[in-house]
C-alpha cells in the first residue's frame, strides 16, 4: 500500500482519532485488526468496507450510530453534487424544463422538487439510491449558504428542510398509500417513517458537504450526536426520547443482573460454609473436600423514597428516572414515589408490577396536574408539604432520593425542612440533571441544597445507571 502518497493512511488515522474522540475505545490492537480486515476484502463495495471497519472497531451496539455518522463523514459516498448530478440534469430537463441548465432556487423549482419528492416517496417499494440523490439535490439547491470566499460557503439541512417542508407531504403520501389498500393508521405510520428517514438522509448529506468544505475533523467535533446512553436528558429530541424509553427496561435488567452477580461473587468468599453440601460433594473425591460450598447470603435491600420534581423544565428527566427506578424495584425492598411542583402527590400506585410502561408514563403525566396548585416550581413549599403529610414514609432505614434541577423561582427555600427530612433517614441523595457548571446560576438553589443533601450530576442514562448501581449496593 503506498499509503504516504494516497493520503489513505492519514485519513484512516484521522478516522480512528475521531472515533476515539466520540468515546469509542479503539485501541491499537483494533486499529491493526481493521487494517488486516481491509486487506482481505475488496475495496469496491463501500458497504463491505464499512462492515469490515465496524466488525473490528465497534464493540457495542450503542456506538453503532456514532460510528456510521463518522464513517459517512470520513469516507463519503459521493463528492460534491455527486456523480449522479450529470444524469440528474437530463432527467431534470424533462420536467423542470424552463431553467434549461442547473436547477435554480426559486418558487417553481421548489414546487417542482416537492412534486418529484412526493412521487419518489410514494409507491410500494422505495428506491434508496434515488432518495439519497434527491437528498443531495435538496441540500445543494435549497440548503446552500453561499460564502464570501472559498471555504466559507456552507450548507444547512435546517434551511433546506424548512423550505421544502417534507412533513407537509404526509397527507399526500397517506392518500397515495391508502389508494394501494393500506388502512388509514398504517398508511400514516408508514408515511411518517418514510419522511423521517428522508429527513435523516438530508441531514447526513449536509454533514457530508460541510465535511468536504471544512474538513471532516471539524464536523466530527461539532455535528455528530453522542450515542443514546451519553445523550443528555435535557437535550433529547422527541425521537431520542422514544429511543431512550426503549433502552430503559433493558438497561435496568442489565443493571439488576450485574448487581445480583456482584453480590453473589463478593459474598461467595466471606459467606459461611455450607457443611452438608461440602461433605456431600467430597464423596466424589474420596472424602477430600476439594470444592467448598457456601451458604448464599441474604441480599441487603433498601427502602427507597423518591421525591421527584415534575415541572416542565425537568419533566423528561423525571420520567426516565422514575421509570428506571421502577424497573429496578426488585432490587429495593420497598419503593414509594412522590411527585411535586409546588404540592406533593403520591404516585406509587401507578407503578403496578408488570404494568405497561406506556400506560405508566401517561398516568404519571396526568398525575402531574395534582402536584401543582400554583403552577410554579417551589421546592421550599414542596418540602414543607411533604413533611406535613407524608412524614410516615421516612424511617431510619430509608434512602431518600430527590430528583430535580433545584430551580425554585427565587422562592423561600425552607432549608430547615429539607434538613429535618434528611435527618430522619439513613441516607439522602439529590440527582440534578443540569451540568455541574450551571449549578448556582440564576434561580438555581443547588449550592444551598447541596450542602444539606449530597448532590450528584446525572445528565444521561450512563450516569443514571452508575448512580443506581452505587445506591443499591
Amino acid at each position: 500500500m503506498s499509503a504516504e502518497q494516497s493520503g489513505l493512511l492519514d485519513r484512516h488515522l484521522a478516522f480512528v482519532e475521531a472515533l476515539r474522540g466520540a468515546g469509542l475505545s479503539v485501541s491499537l490492537a483494533e486499529d491493526l485488526d481493521s487494517l488486516a480486515a481491509l486487506g482481505t476484502v475488496r475495496w469496491g463495495e463501500r458497504a463491505t468496507v464499512r462492515d469490515a471497519f465496524a466488525a473490528t472497531m465497534v464493540k457495542k451496539q450503542a456506538q453503532r450510530t456514532t460510528f456510521d455518522a463518522l464513517f459517512d463523514v470520513y469516507f463519503p459516498a459521493m463528492v460534491g453534487d455527486g456523480a449522479a448530478s450529470a444524469g440528474d440534469q437530463e432527467a431534470g430537463d424533462a420536467d423542470a424544463g424552463d431553467d434549461g441548465g442547473a436547477v435554480r432556487d426559486n418558487a417553481s423549482a421548489l414546487a417542482d422538487f416537492r412534486d418529484r419528492l412526493a412521487e419518489a416517496l410514494d409507491g410500494p417499494q422505495l428506491d434508496e439510491a434515488e432518495l439519497r440523490r434527491m437528498a443531495a439535490e435538496m441540500v445543494g439547491v435549497f440548503g446552500a449558504m453561499p460564502g464570501r470566499g472559498p471555504g466559507l460557503s456552507s450548507w444547512s439541512a435546517y434551511t433546506a428542510l424548512q423550505r421544502v417542508a417534507p412533513q407537509e407531504l404526509v397527507d399526500r403520501l397517506v392518500a397515495g398509500l391508502m389508494g394501494e389498500g393500506a388502512d388509514a393508521e398504517d398508511a400514516r405510520r408508514q408515511a411518517n417513517r418514510r419522511i423521517g428517514s428522508f429527513t435523516a438522509m438530508v441531514e447526513d448529506d449536509a454533514r457530508r458537504r460541510i465535511a468536504e468544505e471544512k474538513g471532516p475533523d471539524h464536523v466530527a467535533d461539532v455535528a455528530v450526536r453522542p450515542s443514546i446512553d451519553k445523550l443528555a436528558f435535557m437535550a433529547a429530541r422527541r425521537t431520542d426520547l422514544d429511543e431512550m424509553r426503549k433502552e430503559i427496561f433493558p438497561l435496568a435488567r442489565r443493571l439488576a443482573t450485574r448487581l445480583a452477580k456482584e453480590q453473589h461473587s463478593r459474598h461467595a468468599r466471606t459467606a459461611p460454609l455450607d457443611f452438608r453440601r461440602t461433605v456431600r460433594a467430597s464423596i466424589a473425591t474420596g472424602g477430600v473436600p476439594i470444592t467448598t460450598h457456601h451458604r448464599p447470603k441474604r441480599p441487603h435491600r433498601t427502602d427507597l423514597v423518591v421525591l421527584c420534581d415534575v415541572s416542565g423544565s425537568v419533566a423528561n428527566f423525571a420520567q426516565f428516572t422514575l421509570l428506571f427506578v421502577f424497573a429496578l424495584r426488585e432490587v429495593f425492598q420497598s419503593m414509594r414515589a412522590f411527585t411535586f411542583i409546588d404540592h406533593v402527590h403520591e404516585v406509587t400506585g401507578h407503578f403496578r408490577p408488570g404494568a405497561d410502561p406506556v400506560d405508566v408514563l401517561s398516568d404519571l403525566a396526568a398525575a402531574a396536574s395534582h402536584a401543582a396548585l400554583w403552577g410554579r416550581t417551589n421546592y421550599g413549599r414542596a418540602f414543607t408539604k411533604f413533611e406535613e403529610s407524608h412524614l410516615d414514609a421516612l424511617t431510619p432505614k430509608t434512602t431518600l432520593l430527590i430528583l430535580g434541577d433545584a430551580r425554585s423561582n427565587y422562592s423561600d427555600l425552607h432549608e430547615d425542612a429539607l434538613k429535618r427530612l434528611a435527618g430522619s433517614v439513613k441516607r439522602a441523595f439529590w440527582l440534578n440533571p443540569e451540568h455541574e457548571r450551571n449549578w448556582g446560576t440564576g434561580d438555581s438553589a443547588a449550592p444551598t441544597y447541596g450542602e444539606i443533601v449530597r448532590m450528584i450530576e446525572c445528565r444521561n442514562l450512563t450516569q443514571l445507571s452508575e448512580f443506581v448501581h452505587d445506591l443499591a449496593w
Partner: protein, 294 residues
C-alpha cells in the same frame, strides 16, 4: 484452512446450509475465518446467533463443539478436569497389587494417574486439540462469572491451554470460534478486544419472509406477507419481549398446524400466544392492533 473465499462466498454457502445471511453478517463471518479471530455475536434473543455457528459448521463440514455457559460454570466444566474416581481406583489397584512383591512404587503411580487416560477434556480443550476443522460455539457467554472470562482470554488469544501436569496444549489447527451474548452483562474490554463484533438485529421484511418460507414449508406467499407485516408492527410497540425470528417461525408453524389460511384479526387474536409471552404485552398488542378480545 480457508473457511470462506470471499464475503459473497460466505453468503452463498451459508444459504445452502439453510442460513440466509445479510451483507454485514456474511462479511463479518468471512472476516472471522480469514483473520482467524473469534466472532462475538450480540443481539436480541432468537434472531439466529447460535444458528449462525451451526450453519458455519454445516457449510464448511466442520464439527461443532458447543460450550453452553451458565452462572457458576467453572474451569472444570469448561476446560478439563481429572477423573478423580478413576485415579482413586488406580491408586487402590496399585496398592493391592503391590502387597506381594513390593509392587509398583509411588513414583510410577504418581506419573501414571496424571496421564491422558485420566484426563476428561471439556469443550474448550476438546476444540483446541482436534485436528479436524472445528467450529467452537461458546453460547450465552454473558451468563458466566467474570472469572471464566479470564480463562477465555488465554484460549481466545493464543488458542492454547496450560495443564500443570501435562504442559501446554496448543492448537494445531485454529477452530472457528463463535461467542454469543444477549448483552445482559457487559463483557470485559479484554475479551471484546480479541473478538470481531457483530450485532445481529431483526431482519428486514423481505429477508424475514425468505427465512420463513425456507424454514416452514407449505407457507403460501400471502400469509407469509401478512405474518411478517404483523410481526414488524408488533416490534414497533413497546413490548417487554419483542417477537424475534424464532417466534415468527413458531407462529408460521402454528398457523400451518391450525390450517389457518388467512391471518385476519380473529386469527391473530387466537394465536397471539405463539408470539407474545407476557400478559402485559398481550394487552398492549390487543389494544394497539385493535383486535377483538379473544
Amino acid at each position: 484452512m480457508n473457511w470462506f473465499d470471499a464475503p459473497a462466498d460466505a453468503a452463498a454457502r451459508l444459504a445452502t446450509a439453510g442460513y440466509l445471511a445479510d451483507a454485514a453478517t456474511a462479511t463479518t463471518t468471512y472476516l472471522a475465518g480469514a483473520l482467524e479471530k473469534p466472532l462475538l455475536l450480540e443481539g436480541p434473543a432468537g434472531v439466529g446467533k447460535t444458528e449462525l455457528a451451526k450453519a458455519v459448521s454445516r457449510a464448511t463440514g466442520a464439527e461443532l463443539v458447543r460450550l453452553q455457559c451458565y452462572e457458576g460454570l467453572d474451569e472444570a466444566r469448561a476446560l478439563y478436569e481429572w477423573n478423580y474416581k478413576k485415579q482413586l481406583l488406580r491408586i487402590q489397584a496399585a496398592n493391592a497389587g503391590g502387597s506381594g512383591e513390593g509392587g509398583v512404587d509411588w513414583d510410577a503411580t504418581h506419573d501414571d494417574i496424571f496421564s491422558e487416560e485420566f484426563l476428561l477434556t471439556r469443550p474448550l480443550l476438546t476444540a483446541i486439540r482436534r485436528d479436524e476443522p472445528t467450529v467452537l460455539l461458546i453460547d450465552e457467554v454473558d451468563k458466566t462469572d467474570i472469572e471464566v472470562e479470564g480463562l477465555l482470554l488465554e484460549v481466545l488469544s493464543d488458542f492454547q491451554v496450560t495443564i500443570p501436569e501435562l504442559g501446554t496444549v496448543a492448537a494445531t489447527r485454529r477452530p472457528f470460534v463463535v461467542l454469543t451474548s444477549n448483552a445482559s452483562r457487559e463483557l470485559s474490554e479484554a475479551v471484546k478486544r480479541r473478538c470481531l463484533y457483530l450485532h445481529i438485529d431483526y431482519p428486514d421484511a423481505a429477508r424475514e419472509r425468505q427465512i420463513l418460507q425456507q424454514q416452514v414449508p407449505g407457507l403460501d406467499d400471502r400469509i407469509a406477507e401478512q405474518l411478517v407485516a404483523t410481526v414488524g408492527r408488533l416490534r414497533e410497540l413497546e413490548l417487554k419481549k419483542a417477537p424475534s425470528i424464532a417466534e415468527s417461525v413458531d407462529w408460521a408453524r402454528t398457523l400451518i398446524a391450525l390450517e389457518i389460511r388467512d391471518l385476519d384479526e380473529k386469527a391473530i387474536a387466537d394465536t397471539l400466544g405463539a408470539v407474545l409471552k407476557h400478559q402485559s404485552d398481550h394487552q398492549r398488542a390487543v389494544k394497539e392492533l385493535k383486535l377483538a378480545r379473544a
